[in-house]
Subunit: 389 residues, 2 copies
Amino acid sequence: MSITAPQGFRAVGVAAGIKAAPKLDLALVVNDGPLDVAAGVFTTNRVQAAPVVWSRQAVADGRARAVILNSGGANACTGPEGFADSHRTAEHVAELLEVSAQDVLVASTGLIGERLPMDALLEGARTAAGALAAGPAADDSAARAIMTTDTVPKQASATTASGVVVGGIAKGAGMLAPQLATMLVVLTTDAVISAEAADAALREATRTTFDRVDSDACMSTNDTVLLLASGASGIEPGAEELADAVRAVSADLARQLVADAEGASHDVHVVVTSATSEAAALAVAREIARSNLVKAAIFGNDPNWGRIVAAAGCVPEDVAPFDPAALAVSVNGVQVSRGGGVGEPRESVDMTPRECLIEVDLGAGDATADIWTNDLTHDYVEENSAYSS
Amino acid sequence: MSITAPQGFRAVGVAAGIKAAPKLDLALVVNDGPLDVAAGVFTTNRVQAAPVVWSRQAVADGRARAVILNSGGANACTGPEGFADSHRTAEHVAELLEVSAQDVLVASTGLIGERLPMDALLEGARTAAGALAAGPAADDSAARAIMTTDTVPKQASATTASGVVVGGIAKGAGMLAPQLATMLVVLTTDAVISAEAADAALREATRTTFDRVDSDACMSTNDTVLLLASGASGIEPGAEELADAVRAVSADLARQLVADAEGASHDVHVVVTSATSEAAALAVAREIARSNLVKAAIFGNDPNWGRIVAAAGCVPEDVAPFDPAALAVSVNGVQVSRGGGVGEPRESVDMTPRECLIEVDLGAGDATADIWTNDLTHDYVEENSAYSS
């Protein structure tokens, strides 16, 4: 699978019995080196799940040998006992792989406020380690084992000019799911790089890809994006070359998350141009992407520029300087509003494609930023209300 | 009707033909004095409708003799022509009433981006002025004429200890409506007060009532809240006495807006206590009230405290200092989460009443704030997507 496309990695997913139904629910990713470089980016939610607390400190030294990931339970808001569970999981995997517990990262996704079934989880880890003793799984079981309400596994890979490979798996979709729909991502590369270079490449890639997916404005307690480097290719790429590949794989996975967002009928790309700064453009794009009125209108195939303009107007002037009378809004290529007023007839906009492009020209500067979101649909409400969770 | 409960006011609603269907769509409120004190609070959206631009400058001198309000069109994003329409409306009403155009306030609600049918509007104003020549209407026609998708007219009144009366009408509901669901409110009082006192009372009342209604986080281009004082009672109440009455009528109307929010099945009262400041409490309350996951869970009668805690955790620490491990969450009186973790069984929460009380104890200080919102329902999506608007 894609996560093992780079040399030096093994990965597998197993059905450990964490989920009520017998499904793949535990994934183990092992870095066989020679390097054990690792970097991580985590949720900025102040309510942090136990595995996030564990992994954040474990990866702080820039090293990791393995990642164990489970679906079927977030291990969030579970107190000291929950942290002990994450710690014990890392120690158990460390014993199985004969590495240090500090070099085992843990990630979880599922319900908040419930303890994990530790007996099943630990036994599943043993099964996974046993399976990996025979070599990497040839299937996509690791990508499948981290799925919650995802309908398809998400994988991507890229090869750089110098022959370095970057691979990755992901689950989640902004938050368009019955639970908080944690975003879990593991990226791998066989590049020879330093921990500092890995960290820089991951942060830059995350900033412009995963951080630009804002399906429903709700931030998980468990979001985790990891990058592991084995150095097995023996190739030391340029910093920019590696960063570009990490960004490409991240962008690919991020786009897959949006495309699989549960309940969504449109993938909405909000692009704000002619802003005074990237931060200003991003603030306006995010405000539009978070407007339930805009999102519901898109579900109704209505290119409602009034709602888009009104959302833009909610961004404070010190955050995004622009003249409301200079705004222009295009939907799927048709400029439905210009000069802050009426433009082309909205009837001329074709809203039937799944992908919807909203372009807002602030007429204030040279900076640009974009956000990917989804529309607000009956299925979103159904997914997030009909099941007790 | 309630807006004419205070002495010195006349009001009426007429069917001017602004709406496609023959419905009440134009209201005229006249202050016969002897005072002509007025104050206004308007949307902070940077995209401001023409009537907002007009009324903001017209009321800046603390005086007004009349308010003309229409449904069926917001007159927003209509450029200089739209502003000329609002100006012309004020001048027309001023001629009819033999007052200055600068003393006529204008408010509109409806679609963004379309010009108003001025001939119909001006003729309707003439009809309304003619009807008022015979005295105040005895019905609720003014309250009905500003309704868009409101299902009931909203009216309230209060009498202070010294005998001063405050009355009011309102339309809208946060934003739970096919259009931006502008909030229009006109309050009246027969108190003898200065323009400064009226302004202070209105701002304080708005801050803790209308500003605390956050049905779907979307801010209109047309929100307008006005207070007119006639002085006709001859009574000069204490500043606090009047402020209390204005706040009471505002709170009553705000609660009516939430109760009539289209598509909603729950009115949700989010109360945050033990915060370090009112601003901190308000930031947490608003974040929870704006979480689509929390709102969808409530629609599903699920007291999902994990989503509530996760929303609280999204507020930056410098905005609202608190320890996530000290959080306690009660839903309808049952403390489902304490110490940042599991509390009473969620099954013991009765979610069937329309009113849902979410109490979040931050354990950090003495300050409190609250927000009223609604749940996220299929009907909300339907209302905001099914009709081209």
